[in-house]
């Protein structure tokens, strides 16, 4: 018999009662749509968590429904009673992790991802220490040698869409502090992110440049690390907490007005840092102060309003928002305002922009087939827009959209681009 009290605490049992089971989340849930049963719907999952917390079902019964949840949190945005599904979901993940009910293959894949790809303990500080990326062409091989059949089967597909990487010299030469040419309007710190910095280094450099042109002094503190979102979503709360503490330590809040990031998922996790710590502790307080300064690049650029775009961009664009930017941060307008500020561009909204692309952290690695079903629905929507560019605001989405383009044979017709890179293309200059 498992300890129910412990489970109840982890899954935030009291919060389960906020769900009145009205079902308004059903139309918003991608997996309810693709998996076609209540078991894979938000209210179904919440109910199952409750059943487990009340001892009516076993942790094992909960595993598959929770594992198959993207964690896109679209349900939270449409929920009329504001159920905090993010807390329930991560609590349930933790319970599953604790109870060691994950099948061996999944455990192996996760171990590989967290220990070799995102080495939580070694992923220290120095920006650009993205060793795994230098082995990108070895991802498939590494997976094969560790006998991760599922991952090895698909790793090749992901490798094909990975961008070219800058030389290590470029990383070493990166400045840790840049100043605007004219008037100093604000000082911000830039959170580089691990995947963003490793795979989309150029986008990070562009982000800093846009901030600088907008009149911001930009600091890039050493010692910052992975935000911990992936760990947290996998039920590895302890690792997530550790990473959060390192980041909180790394940023000197008194020096900066904002901590800016360009990855919707990281930004969301960092605003959730307080939840990782017990209330009324010093760390909880520090996490709150940290979280209060976290901003997405789009928010800051709109607020500073310091750019004009001089170069018309002849692109037909559609926008795939980051789920966590939309559903956790509730930032919807700012990226669109920036898009519309670009001269020459034509923007066509997706029919369902708030439907997840299926990337969802490492979901596309561990639940490849389910992820592809969701991606295919997204690509249908994209194709109907007849655009040549998909704009995203998160590295996971960006990779997934690249994968979708390849999967649907649209290379050369459609390109996936981070919002920041599009803005750079538009010849930004200080107002």
């Amino acid at each position: 018999m498992t300890n129910l009290k412990e489970i109840q605490e982890k899954v935030n049992y009291d919060k389960l009662f906020d769900c009145v089971q009205c079902g308004y989340c059903l139309p918003a849930c991608p997996t309810y749509e693709t998996m076609e049963r209540e078991t894979h719907s938000p209210r179904g999952r919440i109910n199952l968590v409750k059943m487990v917390a009340e001892g009516k079902a076993e942790v094992e019964d909960l595993r598959n429904p929770i594992e198959k949840c993207l964690g896109c949190m679209a349900c939270m945005t449409v929920c009329p009673t504001n159920v905090e599904y993010n807390l329930i979901f991560e609590g349930a993940k933790e319970v599953i992790e604790d109870h060691d009910v994950k099948p061996a293959a999944l455990k192996k894949t996760e171990d590989f991802i967290f220990n070799s790809l995102f080495p939580s303990s070694n992923w220290m500080g120095s920006i650009g220490n993205a060793a795994w990326i230098y082995q990108k062409s070895g991802l498939q091989k590494a997976a094969q040698t560790t006998h991760l059949t599922a991952l090895a089967l698909h790793a090749g597909r992901f490798e094909r869409v990975m961008p070219d990487l800058p030389s290590p010299i470029e990383r070493i030469l990166r400045k840790r502090r840049v100043l605007p040419d004219y008037k100093l309007r604000t000082t911000v710190a830039f959170f580089t992110g691990c995947v963003m910095d490793a795979m989309f280094f150029k986008t990070n450099q562009n982000t800093v440049e846009l901030l600088r042109l907008s009149g911001a002094e930009v600091l890039m503190p050493k010692g910052q690390t992975c935000c911990g979102a992936l760990h947290s979503h996998a039920g590895k709360a302890e690792s997530a907490r550790e990473l959060a503490m390192r980041n909180i330590e790394a940023f000197d809040l008194e020096d900066v007005d904002y901590i800016v990031n360009n990855a919707g998922g990281c930004g969301a996790k960092m605003t959730e840092y307080p939840q990782l710590f017990e209330e009324n502790t010093t760390w909880h307080e520090r996490a709150k102060e940290f979280a209060a300064k976290v901003r997405d690049i789009s928010e800051v650029l709109v607020e500073l309003d310091g750019l004009t775009f001089t170069q018309p961009v002849q692109r037909l664009v559609t926008y795939q928002p980051s789920c966590h930017l939309t559903n956790i941060r509730r930032i919807c307008d700012e990226p669109r305002m920036l898009l519309h500020a670009v001269p020459g561009i034509l923007v066509k909204e997706l029919e369902r922009p708030d439907f997840c692309c299926g990337s969802a952290g490492i979901y596309n690695l561990v639940n490849y087939d389910e992820s592809m079903k969701i991606l295919d629905l997204k690509m249908m929507d994209v194709k109907e827009r007849k655009t040549n560019t998909i704009i995203t605001t998160n590295p996971g989405c960006l990779l997934q959209m690249k994968l979708g383009i390849e999967r649907h044979g649209l290379e050369g017709e459609i390109e996936a681009v981070h919002l920041v890179d599009l803005l750079m293309e538009a010849g930004p200059s200080a107002k």
């Binding site: 009662f17 009145v20 078991t39 179904g44 199952l48 009516k56 079902a57 909960l62």
Partner: protein
């Protein structure tokens, strides 16, 4: 594996039969009270599958519980006796417009708002608008005869159904009605099916009537310093030659809850507000708007707000939509009732509700579609508090009695289900209920379809407490 399960496997693809505990628990609830674990869930996708499942169930006398999206507020789809939940939501959606005939043929799984959307493409409208229309299936709406705010002017689900395909509990596929507006051929089985709460048959296709979509709307927000005046204002308006599309009532507790939750600029000093929506030709709206202003002033309204822009109007209706979540912040459990009274008795009903609130020391807030007498008194409580729930049970019982005493009914639009079943006789009398039971017996001799609903068992009473 028990024998009926083996038979099911012969008539349905295996992947459409769910028996895992996780799956069964996921169909054990709806948006009302209670949780009942079925033995199996079947996901049917055409009328032959429905018929096949029902034939098996009828032979083995296994109860079957049809279910759409499970948004029911009266326990319609709850598998109270175990057995089989028949999930209709994954049936491929069909919405076949016949705009020249002003009708549409739909599958039971079609969502109500999608039907309206399809109609709007032709300048038409499917009028019934329950607040769950974007989630709920038409099958569920038909079974429960759902209403909605527009019911005041346009009527409810039953007023829009002209033909059905139904599978009987014995597994026969029949047609009722047809596709003409007028049709008096034989008994009106269509109307019998609509609102039968899935106890007589499973609806597998419906032919629905559409009407033209009014070209314009006008919202008016009126506030009152006395609840009774607000009640009177409703009858006064409706007898003045104007028929608004909606007339929604909010009491002070609701107004304040909304303003605490997500400020929308509702008048927090008002004892009650009425939100009116007029629809029709823009020119006639101008005239009706002035008439309403006059009526409200004369009757003693404190304030009349006429939004100037579409956005302002949308803001008012958004505030109305926020009532449900806002009041859920007062206490976590919401016992949502829909007792309905003749319109002239609304002020009396509001008085009775006040008495009940004091007598049982329970938190009652009132809002709803007051224009058609359909109030939604909501009792806010905490289902983990057994003592409080006992008081709530008593308050609910008295609330039902109050509605009946005032010449009203137990349920305007949510349905009887399980919770209101014990009160059927006090509204209909023993002979009235008996006639209904006879209909049930002749349609469903083995009592397999949605058994345990509408009719109460010996000694059954309202229970909101669970261990």
């Amino acid at each position: 594996m028990n024998s009926w399960m083996k038979k099911l496997l012969q008539v349905l693809p295996e992947k459409q039969i769910l028996t895992d505990l996780a799956d069964r628990y996921s169909y054990s609830f709806d948006a009302s009270f209670g949780e009942y674990l079925p033995e199996a869930v079947v996901q049917v996708k055409n009328n032959h599958e429905v018929a096949a499942v029902l034939r098996v169930a009828n032979v083995y006398k296994v109860p079957v519980y049809p279910r759409g999206s499970g948004t029911c507020l009266s326990g319609g789809p709850l598998p109270v006796k175990g057995g089989i939940v028949m999930d209709m939501s994954q049936w491929p959606e069909k919405i076949e417009m016949q705009p020249e005939d002003l009708i549409v043929k739909v599958s039971p799984s079609a969502r109500t708002s999608e039907i309206n959307k399809a109609a709007e493409a032709y300048g038409l409208m499917y009028a019934p608008d329950p607040s769950s229309a974007h989630v709920a299936t038409i099958g569920g709406n038909l079974a429960e005869n759902s209403g909605g705010p527009r019911g005041l002017k346009y009527g409810v689900t039953k007023d829009y159904v002209i033909g059905l395909e139904v599978v009987t509990p014995e597994g026969k596929i029949i047609k009722t009605g047809g596709q003409t507006i007028k049709n008096v051929t034989g008994y009106d089985l269509t109307k019998l099916m609509v609102g039968c709460e899935g106890t007589l048959g499973v609806i597998t296709e419906a032919t629905l009537k559409l009407i033209s979509k009014p070209p314009a709307t006008q919202t008016i927000l009126v506030s009152f310093s006395e609840v009774r005046t607000a009640g009177k204002a409703i009858s006064k308006t409706l007898t003045s030659g104007i028929l608004p599309a909606k007339m929604e009532f909010l009491d002070q507790a609701c107004i304040r809850a909304v303003e605490n939750f997500q400020p929308a600029g509702l008048p927090i000093e008002a004892e009650a507000v009425i939100i009116i929506e007029l629809d029709g030709h823009p020119e006639s709206l101008k005239v009706e708007k002035e008439l309403i202003k006059g009526i409200m002033k004369q009757i003693g309204a404190v304030d009349i707000i006429i939004p100037k822009t579409v956005e302002e109007a949308a803001g008012i209706w958004h505030a109305r939509k926020q009532v449900s979540p806002a009041i859920a912040k007062i206490k976590p459990t919401k016992v949502s009732e829909d007792a309905t009274v003749p319109r002239s008795r609304i002020p009396d009903m509001l008085d009775r509700l006040n008495e009940i609130k004091r007598k049982y020391n329970v938190e009652v807030v009132v809002f709803g579609h007051a224009g058609d007498g359909n109030l939604h008194p909501n009792i806010l409580c905490d289902k983990r508090d057994q003592e409080e729930m006992l008081r709530v049970e008593r308050a609910v019982a008295e609330l039902f009695q109050a509605a009946i005493d005032l010449g009203g009914t137990l349920s305007g639009e949510h349905g009887i289900g399980t919770m209101k079943a014990p009160f059927m006789e006090s509204e209909l009398g023993a002979a009235g209920v008996d006639m209904m039971k006879r209909i049930k017996n002749s349609w469903d001799p083995n009592h397999i379809l949605n058994t345990g609903k509408i009719f109460s068992e010996q000694g059954q009473r309202l229970v909101l407490r669970h261990d």
